[in-house]
Amino acid sequence: MRWAVIQFPGSNCDQDVFHVLKNVLGQEVDYIWHKDTSLNGADAIVLPGGFSYGDYLRCGAIARFSPIMPAVKEAAAAGGTVLGICNGFQILCEAGLLPGVLVRNTSLHFRCETIPVRVEHPLSRFTSEYLTGRVLRLPIAHGEGHYVADDATLDALFRHRQVLFTYSDLQGRSTPEANPNGSQRHIAGITNRAGNVLGLMPHPERASEKILGSDDGLGLFASILLSMKG
């Protein structure tokens, strides 16, 4: 299968994602510059982490108007797999491909550490390789990861099983101390209603090789591969 990794000015996790897809998973991968308008026939699209456009105005607010974004929206509407990691999640929210928005961490601190993240369920193309309630060790690195939406939206996200990842302690409990950014209802990653667009703040691509301390993130990419074969 063929992957596209979008590069915005200020993206800085694009090469990490490319490396995992190409060298760890043996996939065909293209970098796609944000000024391009074609995804080169990609089956799956990754919007990587970073600080697109310097996070000016709001994180992702300017990137959503990039020339490549109509093609991303078209692919999403057609059921294609779209994965937004960190800044990519912020861009997907600003672009309206995911509900809600990510705001400044409640602590005001930029949090850069490996933390426990609980898998809510395996019934998605992004989590089929995991078990319900499994606690992953994934790195986060963000100043604006506090997920905000109105109560009706939050209720709907849980009701329709769109919440795939939440912050927890190592035992899988959603304690206030385990929430690194004040995210509403401990949300770390959500999909759209159709389940083909995922945004998450933790970085699975930084936890996809044992030598880096954790390969808990590899299951996310492996799940996508499995869904494409099925």
């Binding site: 105005l57 607010a61 506090h146």
Partner: protein, 85 residues
């Protein structure tokens, strides 16, 4: 020419960590009468032309789509004739 000012501020229902930190700092400095602070943005624009109605129509779209995110922010747009300086 026309001068426009856009004030973008966090919606009341959204917790504003920056505002909270500013409020605490002010109170720490002894001004305990301050009970709330909200931190937003002020964006100033200069436009060609003198049709304020047309400029407002164009800028309302920009305010909604780019300068603010209605999920978390409100904005106030004001326009006035500029002096061309």
């Amino acid at each position: 020419m026309i001068r426009a000012q856009v004030i973008v501020r966090p919606r009341k229902s959204i917790f504003d960590p920056q505002g909270d930190a500013v409020c605490r700092a002010i109170r720490h400095l002894g001004v305990s009468a301050v009970k709330e602070a909200h931190v937003g943005k002020c964006i100033e624009l200069e436009l060609e032309g003198d049709d304020i109605g047309a400029a407002r129509a164009q800028l309302e779209t920009i305010c909604r789509d780019l300068l603010s995110n209605p999920v978390i922010e409100d904005y106030v747009l004001t326009l006035q004739p500029g002096d061309g300086k």
